[in-house]
Structures are given as C-alpha cells and as structure tokens.
Amino acid sequence: MPRLVSHPDEVKIVTKRFGMGAANIDKYIELGGYDSLKKCIAEGPEWVINEMKSSGLRGRGGAGFPTGLKWSFVPKQSAKPKYVLVNGDESEPGTCKDHLIFLYDPHAVIEGTMIAGLAIGAKTGFIYLRGEYRYLLEIMEKAVADAYEKGILGKNVLGSDFEFNVITQSGAGAYEVGEESALMESLEGKRGVPRIKPPFPAVVGLYGGPTVINNAETIASVPHVISMGGPAYAAVGSERNGGTRLFGLSGHVERPGIYELPMGYNLKKMIYEVGGGVRGGRKLKAVVPGGSSTPVLLPEEIENLGMDFDQVGKAGSMLGSGGVVVIDDQTCIVEFALRTISFYAHESCGWCIPCREGTDWLKKSLTRFHAGFGTEKDIDNIQYLAENMMGRTFCPLGDAAAMPTLGFVKKFRKEFEDHLNGKPCPFAKHVELAVV
C-alpha cells in the first residue's frame, strides 16, 4: 500500500482528504464533497469556465495547457454528443500521483468530471485507468455506483435538470495510450495509435464528438478551484501557474513520496528539505524534473529553479508530470540513458517511422556503447538521431524519447567518452536489458 508522507511546506488542497476515508461517499460529502458541483449547477457553465480561467490551472498531464481555455474551445452547439475524458493512464516513468488520487479521493475525480461536463455541455464522462491499476479501478467503480445511488450521477443530478453519466474504463498496458488521441482510439476499442491533428479533440474527439481530455490530477483539482474561487487558487501558485502540484519524489532521495507543494516551489529545497536530501548523504549528480521524458538537470541548474511550467521550460527542461527523479553520484548516466530509451523503444506504437526506428536505433547504439564497444562517432550519431526525431512524429512520444537522450549526451558527454574503447562503466552491473 502506498505510504503517505507529509512535510510542513506542503499546501494540502488536492490531497487534503487523503487518508481520511473519503473513498466512502458519506465521508466525502461530510468533508464538503459535491458542494462545488452544487455551486456550479446554480451558477451555470459560463461562470464555471471563467472561474477555471482565473484559477490559472494548467494541465497536470505534462503539457501545461490552461484548463479553462481548453474547455472554452468546445463548440456550444454540436450535432454529435460531447464528452469528458479523464486520462488516468498514468504511465510516465517517475509518476504515481494519480495512483493516490484514485485510491484516496475517487469522488473528487467524479465531481471534477461532472463539473467539466456541465461547463462544456456534455452528458457523459469517461474515466480511463491504466490496466495495471485494477484495484484502483474497483475503487472508482464503487465510487461511481455509490454516486448513482445517491442521485448525484444520473438523470437529475442533485434534483436539478442537469444529466450526467460516468463510465469507467480499463486499459491493458500501453504508455502511448496516455496521448490524448491514442486514448480516444483505445476507448473506441482499437490499437492505441495517435490521430493526426487538426482536427483537435475539442472539435472532433471521442466517437467524433467534441471532447475535453484532462489528466486525472487536473480533474481532481477542479472541485477545489471552485470551492476556493479561481483567484484564491491562482494565488497559491506562481505567476501564470495557479495552485499546487502533486510532486513525486523518487530515486536516490531520503524520503521519497508524493508531496503537494505550491507551483514554483524551489527544486533544490524540494530535494534537500522536503525529500531529506540525497540518500545516504551522497552527492547529487543529476535530477530528472518531470518524468522520464524531461531533459535532465545538473545540480548547478536547480539552485534557483522554481518548479512551474515556465521556469523549468526556461531552464531547458519541462515540468512534465511532476515526477522528480533524483540521481546520486554513484549512478552511471549511460546506463540511465539506456534504461530510459529502452522504455520508449518498448512503448513506441510503431505508427511513425522516426519514432519507431529512432527509438530502436538509439537503444541499439546505447546498448553497444554501455557494453564498452562504442566509438567516438557513436556519441555524435546518437545526438544526430535524436535531433532528427524531434518534431517529426504524429504525437509527442518521439520527442519524449529524443529530448532526454539529447540532455544526457550534451550534459554528460565526458561520461560517454569515458565509456569509449572498451572501458566499461565503473558503476553498472547490468549490460543486457530483458524487456523487449
């Protein structure tokens, strides 16, 4: 069972009901649950979208797109039904925040979905969980059934004329399905390959209808935005980055766990104070700031780095999914790069050639390199390959594989050079990776 952690610097908004038994609907209601929904029904869609816009809430899946703006793109009139789709296919290595949301506060996901539905004029919402999260799917299914029983879901939501239904769905193991258009394909019972854009999901989405797709953490934040009011929620975070974020500290950190901290919180402080520093008092070598697809940062780059979309972007990386992976000085970066690219090679759906071939060749090159059979030219080739994948694929998976690789090669070129000419790396024990 995932262990809850806490730190005095945390600002508990999304996590405030964690560990309080809020998976039980009565407890959730007792703790103020579904009050935001009531308020939204009374105030109407336009008011909801304005609150969302003023909250500065940006997509927690990684792209950081303003949620209110996304909702406002959905056409008011549509011949086809509109849908809300909650992305709980959480698969980015280093990321396990949604895991806790589904476990401890499933009704917040339902309430957020319903508010999104009200705002865009949808009657149906889908909550899609990755297949591995079966026990969490069962928690969500129970929460949905309880909400129907209480008259919260269904024809006349809380006695109003608003109708809303929620359908839960299980995936079956595919990182790519976390991409919004691939997620829609999967939900339609197909292979999870991405669709070309435009048209964007807000216009042509699930079953051809206008669709809003939000990350589970984004959706779970919505009821809190409403209860606090947009401006108050925005004030918690940093400039243009409203609210808090569920940061997942993992890797070589003394106290790993999910911590809810204000947007813009200093990364160095997060590792050394919140996380208790590098495990065993070792030295920090590098940090992956937002899930494995985000370019690595060096210790000197995190000194004054605030963790929000804009500041991390300016530092040459991405806030991504908020999964902070701490790497100590005993780690071989070539092995780390190899393990990272192996994942993307495994998960590439094969739809576009630059991604399918690029990830595979990067994996081959890095495997050879790590085994001590690399050449000087390989380093440049790895960089060349990765650069040529960037921006040349249907979906961001190609970039997600190329970006971190470029980061490793550029920032740790010396370590790559040390591996040359049969000099095996001093730290790693594992040459061959079994996952194919």
Binding site: M1, R134, Q169, A174, L187, H430
Partner: protein
C-alpha cells in the same frame, strides 16, 4: 446484472458470472466495440490467456472479425497469447525502481524460481516478467503479482513473497485461473 440470456451465453466458454458481466459491458458504451479491451483483460483473468476460443467468442460478442480482435490485442502489453503462471510476478526495472535496486530484486526472483523473463515454473505456479513502469515510483522498488502491488522491497523479501503465494496456490489447487491475488 443483465437478464438477457443470449445464445452465446449458453455455449459460452466463460463462467456465467463473466458472461453476465460481458452482457452489461457491451451495453454500457455508445459503441459496442468500446468494450473490447476490458473484455479481453477480464477474459484473460478467467481463462489465463487469450486462447483461440477466447478470441472467437469475444469477436462474436462484439460483432467484429477474429483478425480485428487479434490486431487490437497484440498492441497491449498486458494481453498474452500463452498461459502464464498462476501467479505472474512482474518486476518493474524502470528508472525509479532501478535506482533503488530493482535489478537486484529481479535477479533474486530469477535465482529463486530458476526462470528468466517470461518464463513459467514447471509446476505452473509462477511466471516472471521484467516490466515497464507500473506507477509505484515513490515506493520503489515495486512488483505486481497479478494485480496486487508489493512495494519498497529488498531482495531479502523475495522468499517470503514466494512462500506466501505458494501457500495460496496449494489451497486452491494447481492450474487454477489467474485471478486477483
């Protein structure tokens, strides 16, 4: 569950409970086909893998070709076409787990079970798999045994975990279905 007793149900290879669940599933979505992926997963949970018979019946229930079912099923890494052990041990070795000793853990499982990646023990009780991120990064290293998570492990935890599941296998007989552990 659904009161509809269809023809497929009477000759179904699935248990009555699962058949009833499928009837509900296909009626739940705006498009029948949306039930496909969960159906395959639930069928696999009961039968152990996607046998030809499973694929044939799922295709018929949804109203698509078997080829279409296979085309979709081969995309998803949790779906398999060969039986696994009664308890499928999935060890995550992705970055967060790797940094906290996932390979040492995985090696211990290999040593104890004398099988490698995607291997099955001769008694059919265990199978082993090295898997990608399972979403337990902050409590690494972690494994999944069927659907049950075990986290913050060390190689020394391996014998205890194996003994626990071996005990469960003994209680319900060998070669049973792969259910939630």
């Amino acid at each position: 569950m659904s009161p509809n007793g269809s023809n497929t149900e009477t000759m179904s290879i699935f248990s009555p409970a699962l058949s009833a669940r499928f009837d509900t599933l296909v009626a739940k979505y705006p498009v029948k086909r949306s039930a496909l992926i969960p159906m395959l997963l639930y069928a696999q949970d009961e039968v152990g893998y996607l046998s030809d018979a499973v694929i044939a019946e799922v295709a018929e229930r949804i109203g698509i070709t078997q080829l279409d079912v296979r085309n979709v099923a081969t995309y998803y890494s949790m779906l398999r076409f060969k039986p696994a052990g009664k308890f499928n041990i999935q060890v995550c070795t992705n970055i967060s787990c790797m940094l906290r000793g996932a390979y040492e853990l995985y090696e211990r499982f290999q040593d104890e079970l004398h099988i490698g990646h995607k291997g099955v023990t001769p008694d059919g009780v265990f199978s082993l798999e090295e898997v990608e991120c399972i979403g337990v990064c902050c409590w690494a290293p972690a494994i999944q045994v069927n659907y049950a998570f075990h986290d913050e492990l060390t190689p020394n935890d391996v014998p205890k975990i194996l003994a626990e599941y071996k005990g469960k296998a003994g209680n319900s007989g060998a070669n049973g279905s792969v259910k939630n552990a």
